[in-house]
Amino acid sequence: MTSPQPTAELRELMRERAEQFTSVPADPDSARLQLARIEQEELLAVMVQSHQAFLANIEGLHRTAHTLAYDAARKAVDAVLLAVGVRVARSGGHHTTVAAAEAIFLPPPPSRRRNVLSFARARNVRHEDEYPRRPAQATITLRERREQTQNCIRLVGDCRELLGLDRSDEMVPTDQRLRNWALPTAQPHP
């Protein structure tokens, strides 16, 4: 199984923001287990919410799906960090997780660039959702929210790939998939 090495950019970030990271034993096996849980729990929840939002077109459901997808991506990035022996400290917060994700996925190959940049903007949107400044300041459209939901799940796929697992792109809620989607039968945890 693959054990990822930190990119030069991530090492640099960890040096620059030493107080925002905590060293932990590098544990790729636990990281893979965490990613498996994300697939079984968070991504499934995203699909349920997206499906209901797609059928009823209720903005609140799209918002919930977006939050779940963002959280899944954030936990997936945390899993990659665990595999290389580091955790984001409490003082770092989501901002540092995004910076770490950029340090991991912005270097080539360029195919991963789109998902991680979308994740950075999704953090912003999630922050606005959580702490709305005023009701009129909805800076995101439904169109962008749906695209971000998809890209966050693709980022989970990028993290899985980095840890030597299959991608989970069949869980990306595209219109075609949402039209045909049905809740899978429950499977026990590994």
């Binding site: 903007r121 912003n124 300041q137």
Partner: protein, 215 residues
């Protein structure tokens, strides 16, 4: 006639003296690229302008030696453009917010190497963007509205631009500025038919127009 000439000559001498003083200050402040980068970090980087930075952190950000930064910091402190504080064997450097130069210096840096200049450069030749503007707290502070220093830049992009390209542009500008740029991306149709109140709110508050649709 003679008295008038003497008065004019005296005025001219005063003006020359004044210009010389300004030039000396400017030479101190902008004598090298490192010094200019140092000022830009101190005055335009949100984190450093509010919390300060050690000489080591500044050297790392600029990509030069600590000795060079240490020497230039001393110059800025003498010129009244920065303050320093000792914490153990570290020097914590901050902009001089109450110094006579601070207000004009921040304006000068914004106008020469600040976000507007950098964003306009990134927007040049973009045919997929009809209108681009800075809104939110950065635009409000630039218009003179009181408040805390802006922590990020809200950037409105209207046109046929894809989300991917918009995020890419914002990311490249953020890297250059050392400040987060949050892109808000709309098609012309979405902007014109906005019924959330967001477009109306942006239009009635201060903005810095970076690119306008052709008249």
């Amino acid at each position: 006639m003679g008295a008038g000439f003497r008065l004019a000559a005296r005025h001219l001498r005063l003006i020359l003296h004044f210009l010389k003083a300004i030039l000396q200050s400017m030479q101190t402040l902008f004598r090298s690229e490192v010094l200019q980068q140092l000022l830009t970090l101190l005055y335009l980087d949100h984190e450093i302008s509010t919390s300060g930075a050690t000489v080591r952190q500044l050297a790392r950000r600029i990509g030069t030696s600590e000795a060079t930064i240490s020497r230039d910091v001393s110059r800025l402190v003498r010129a009244g453009a920065a303050t320093e504080e000792r914490a153990g064997n570290q020097r914590i450097v901050r902009p001089a917010p109450d110094g006579p130069l601070a207000f004009h210096l921040a304006g000068l840096l914004r106008a020469t190497v600040g976000p507007e200049v950098i964003l306009r450069r990134h927007l040049a030749d973009r045919t997929d963007i009809e209108r681009a503007a800075i809104f939110g707290s950065y635009a409000a502070r630039a218009a003179g509205e009181p408040g805390p220093p802006p922590g990020d830049i809200d950037l409105l992009l209207i046109g046929d631009i894809s989300f991917d390209d918009g995020y890419d542009l914002a990311h490249a500008a953020s890297r250059e500025l050392g400040m987060e740029v949050n892109p808000v991306i709309r098609t012309i149709e979405e902007w014109e038919n906005d019924d959330t109140g967001f477009a109306a709110e942006v239009e009635k508050r201060p903005t810095i127009e970076l690119k306008s649709p052709p008249a």
